[in-house]
């Protein structure tokens, strides 16, 4: 595919269009785009907007799979438009739709607010009881690399909503928290600095929490960052069950490591060399 760089191939984009002011429901409109090797779906949409139809609306920002704005349904798969090369997924036709399981604001723009509200509800931040230290910090919270690895994978989430679009439970259950907020809950529950897991468990263990996940695995399959929300949710379920059975290991938020000079140095660390300048 790479040797064809100068030649373009016509690919028909079947794009979902919806204007809330004039359309009763979404419809499909087709555009033919000359596609060169290396062009992403986002490039194709830009081509349509600049050359064929300036009214087309979608959301994007960084163009490099970091911001999570351009989550779309490409050939039936929720994924990032900027991260997907057209010729990798299409020979002649490509369907481009908005992420499912959200309301459509216009064309390819889903309303992600429902996801963000659910995300906010699980306290996606480190919660501690020592207010004084949080407001006037005197040192760092100690965390080993091993403790970090327990949740590091789940921190790579960019909140693009692809997992929410792929989840079968969210297809019918409006109140289900969904893969992204639940993975975020697991991420903070497992953070050794955090002390807010009890409150989070109230929500993640509720009727529309982690137990509405039945491991269809779609969220992990579509995640463009390899976050694996399904894994996070299963670990969360185990924690909820152990907690209910009073078998969970007692967790205490990690201790604070005080400022420089107050920690104990290891004996075998050589002294710093003398300054040369």
């Amino acid at each position: 595919m790479t040797e064809n760089t100068n030649n373009s191939r016509p690919i028909t984009f079947h794009v979902t269009r919806y204007n809330p002011e004039s359309d009763r429901k979404p419809y499909i409109k087709s555009y033919t785009v000359p596609v060169r090797a290396g062009m992403t779906v986002l490039d194709g949409l830009h081509y349509i907007k600049e050359n064929l139809d300036p009214t087309l609306a979608w959301r994007f920002s960084c163009r490099m799979g970091v911001c999570g704005s351009c989550g779309m349904l490409l050939n039936g798969h929720p994924t990032l438009a900027c991260n997907t090369q057209i010729l990798h997924i299409a020979d002649t036709d490509l369907t481009v739709g908005p992420l499912p399981n959200f309301e459509i604001i216009r064309d390819l723009v889903p309303d992600l607010m429902t996801m963000f509200e659910k995300h906010r509800s699980i306290n996606p931040h480190i919660v501690r009881t020592d207010e004084k230290e949080l407001n006037t910090p005197e040192g760092e919270f100690y965390q080993t690399p091993e403790q970090l690895e327990k949740f590091l994978q789940f921190t790579y989430c960019i909140k693009c909503g692809c997992c929410m679009g792929a989840c079968p439970t969210l297809a019918t259950d409006v109140h289900y928290l969904g893969p992204m907020p639940l993975a975020a809950a697991e991420r903070y529950d497992n953070d050794s600095r955090d002390d807010g897991w009890r409150d989070r468990h109230q929500l993640t263990g509720s009727a529309h929490g982690a137990f509405r996940c039945h491991y269809a695995g779609e969220c992990s399959r579509v995640c463009p960052k390899g976050v694996d929300p399904a894994r996070a949710i299963q670990h969360l379920k185990r924690q909820l069950v152990l907690d209910y059975l009073h078998l969970a290991r007692k967790k205490k938020p990690c201790a604070m490591l005080h400022g420089p000079g107050e920690g104990k140095l290891l004996a075998n660390i050589p002294a710093a060399p003398a300054k040369t300048v």
């Binding site: 439970t169 019918t172 259950d173 409006v174 109140h175 289900y176 468990h201 109230q202 263990g205 509720s206 009727a207 929490g209 137990f211 509405r212 379920k237 909820l240 069950v241 907690d243 209910y244 059975l245």
Partner: protein, 127 residues
């Protein structure tokens, strides 16, 4: 956290059913597993074999036990599926009520039948 409780027992029930219903299926439908559960000739589900099992206290007790946990596992599973349809709270409450009544009703019926047949089988065996 109520859901955590329900779900934990749903899973536990599933594991118990795996063994008891597995045994049930082996006796009934996988022939030649053991003749000690179906000593009479013909099918394992024949009346003679049925009465033989009903005369054993082990079977009566396990039937009732399996009945209870299987009803819980099945009806909770159905409730899970229905609750994922985004229903109104009043509908959800009604479903829980109806499923609970159905479960209890069938449990009483099954328990009565298991005990009654146990008595019949025993009297038959004696007489």
């Amino acid at each position: 956290m109520r859901e955590t409780k329900y779900w934990t027992w749903h899973m536990t029930a599933g594991v118990v059913i795996l063994f008891l219903l597995g045994l049930h299926m082996l006796i009934m439908h996988v022939g030649g597993v053991s003749t000690s559960f179906a000593p009479y000739s013909g099918e394992a589900t024949s009346k003679a074999n049925s009465l033989f099992r009903d005369s054993k206290l082990f079977f009566t007790v396990t039937y009732i036990f399996l009945l209870g946990i299987a009803l819980y596992h099945g009806l909770y599973g159905l409730r899970t599926i229905l609750f994922e349809l985004t229903l109104k709270p009043v509908v959800e409450k009604s479903i829980t009520f109806v499923l609970t009544i159905t479960g209890l009703g069938l449990f009483v019926l099954g328990t009565w039948a298991a005990i009654a047949t146990h008595a019949i089988a025993l009297s038959g065996a004696r007489g």
